[in-house]
């Protein structure tokens, strides 16, 4: 069982997390997001080299009954994707913060990470029924 919210990460209102890796940022969806979704059966991600734009969709996760868009928390260029995850998307349910990471991007402006929610703020956001 993974932690529900990790103190070291930044969060968005779309229930994505962002991890500061130095030059790059790593992106995934939160425990709360996977819990609300249920069994993930399909994942679609951009390719390395693609650009993602803050607020735009960069991929989809699907469960049996629904398709959900993934929203880019920050603009930048995709430098890596978690390729094995595409073939085993159920890992998002069991390890949303570790093996379930989705993308690494080179951000246009790394400082924009400061605009995202802290773990504390995200916890409050979730508890308020978001």
């Amino acid at each position: 069982m993974s932690e529900t919210i990790k103190a070291s990460l930044k969060y968005t209102k779309e229930h994505e997390w962002v991890q500061d890796m130095g030059e790059y940022l790593r992106i995934g969806i939160t425990h709360h997001a996977q819990d609300q979704l249920g069994d993930v059966v399909y994942l679609e991600l951009p390719a390395p080299g693609d650009r993602i734009e803050s607020g735009d969709t960069f991929g989809v996760v699907e469960i049996v009954k629904a398709v959900s868009d993934l929203y880019a928390p920050i603009s930048g260029e995709v430098v890596a994707i978690n390729a094995p995850l595409v073939d085993t998307p159920e890992v998002i349910n069991t390890s949303p913060y570790d093996s379930g990471w989705m993308l690494e991007i080179k951000p246009d402006d790394k400082n924009s990470i400061n605009d995202l929610m802290s773990a504390e703020a995200y916890k409050e956001f979730v508890e308020n029924g978001a």
Binding site: G38, D39, V41, E44, V60, V64
Partner: protein, 363 residues
């Protein structure tokens, strides 16, 4: 405001995720829909299907009345038999697909889809008032008073034996019988919507909670929601009214010809239109498909042969059993042969697929 089944509080207590479906607040899953799916394939699961409608047709003319309406010849049914058939409109479109239970030749019960039960009832009432001579029939919509649960899976019969001391092992497929539990009559029908062995139980509302708990307690049947029901029925190649069949599609297009009795001596509602469609030839056919590329093709996804639009998806999912994306689609005749390679358009790209025979899964 959504309606509630008698099991609503039980679902909430078991932390079900509830969704609005056919006007009812229904459990879509209790935990993992994938585990619920496999519980039915490998062991046994229990579904609340109390949203379904039950319409009773009684009277000395009940057999004659139903025989002039349904594409299946109801007059050939024996007491204790169940039959899958449809109520068609004059154009041959499917108002609903349903089960007809013959209790006696003067007493039938029809199980209709939740969202269509009123239409089915109204249509039957209308017909009964407009045929000469007026038939001696009484139509009762008992939907609000009848609860229904579906016990499905290879261990269904064993669990019934164990929990109710009622042996239903000998009950044939598409037959039903009654048994007593807590001095209440329960109807057990060897039918289902999952592709597995199992039973659909009909009972008065007040018995439903006890019945459900008696089957699920002590590691009995696993409660299953609508999500698993949908993947199970699709793997079994069964149509969902509102998706794969509707008032604009005919049983010929849907591949349900096998349910129709064509004998010259008998008319049924929609027969003339279906004969004309047979004569002219079909324009589209319902087909199973398997996605060869990446992607789940949902309802209304367009399907192409090269640049030509040749079809649309009616149901699509990721099959937990086959671990492949599968679905059903109406395909223009000429492009509908099994094995035909086509492409769907999904989020701006082309996804290859192959038409295949249904069911996708056979027990």
């Amino acid at each position: 405001m959504s309606q509630q089944t008698p099991l609503h509080a039980t679902h909430i207590a078991h932390k079900a995720t509830m969704v609005s479906f056919a006007g009812f607040d229904m459990p879509v899953k209790y935990g993992s829909e994938k585990e619920e799916h496999f519980a039915v394939r490998n062991h046994v699961g229990l579904f609340d299907v109390s949203h379904m409608g039950e319409i009773v047709v009684k009277g000395t003319d009940a057999t004659r009345f139903l025989s002039m309406i349904f594409p299946a010849d109801i007059s050939l049914m024996k007491p204790g038999q169940a039959k899958y058939t449809m109520l068609l409109n004059k154009d041959g479109g499917i108002i609903d697909d349903l089960l007809v239970y013959c209790r006696t030749d003067m007493d039938y019960m029809i199980c209709a889809n939740a969202s269509n039960q009123e239409r089915v009832y109204d249509t039957l009432v209308n017909i009964s008032r407009n045929v000469e001579p007026l038939p001696h029939v009484r139509l009762l919509n008992e939907s609000e008073h009848v609860a229904q649960v579906a016990l499905q899976g290879p261990y269904a019969a064993q669990l019934v034996q164990e929990r109710f001391d009622a042996s239903l092992t000998e009950l044939s497929y598409y037959h039903f019988t009654n048994f007593q539990w807590k001095d209440v009559t329960v109807t057990a029908s060897r039918t289902g919507y999952t592709g597995e062995d199992g039973f659909e139980f009909y009972m008065p509302n007040m018995l439903a909670v006890d019945f459900w708990q008696h089957l699920t307690k002590d590691d009995g049947a696993r409660p299953c929601g609508l999500a698993a029901r949908d993947t199970l029925r699709l793997e079994a190649g069964m149509c969902l009214h509102g998706n794969d069949i509707d008032a604009q599609t005919t049983p010929l297009e849907a591949g349900l010809n096998w349910t129709i009795d064509w004998s010259d001596t008998r008319d049924f509602v929609g027969k003339k239109a279906l004969l004309a469609q047979k004569e002219q030839g079909l324009e589209q056919r319902l087909r199973g498909f398997e996605v060869l590329g990446r992607g789940i093709l949902r309802r209304d996804t367009p399907i192409y042969n090269g640049e030509q639009l040749v079809g649309r998806v009616t149901s699509g999912t990721m099959s937990p059993t086959l671990k492949k994306a599968i679905g059903l689609a109406y395909i223009q005749v000429g492009h509908h042969r099994f094995g035909t390679a086509l492409e769907a358009e999904l989020r701006g790209r082309r996804v290859p697929l192959k038409l295949c025979k249904i069911p996708f899964y056979k027990r």
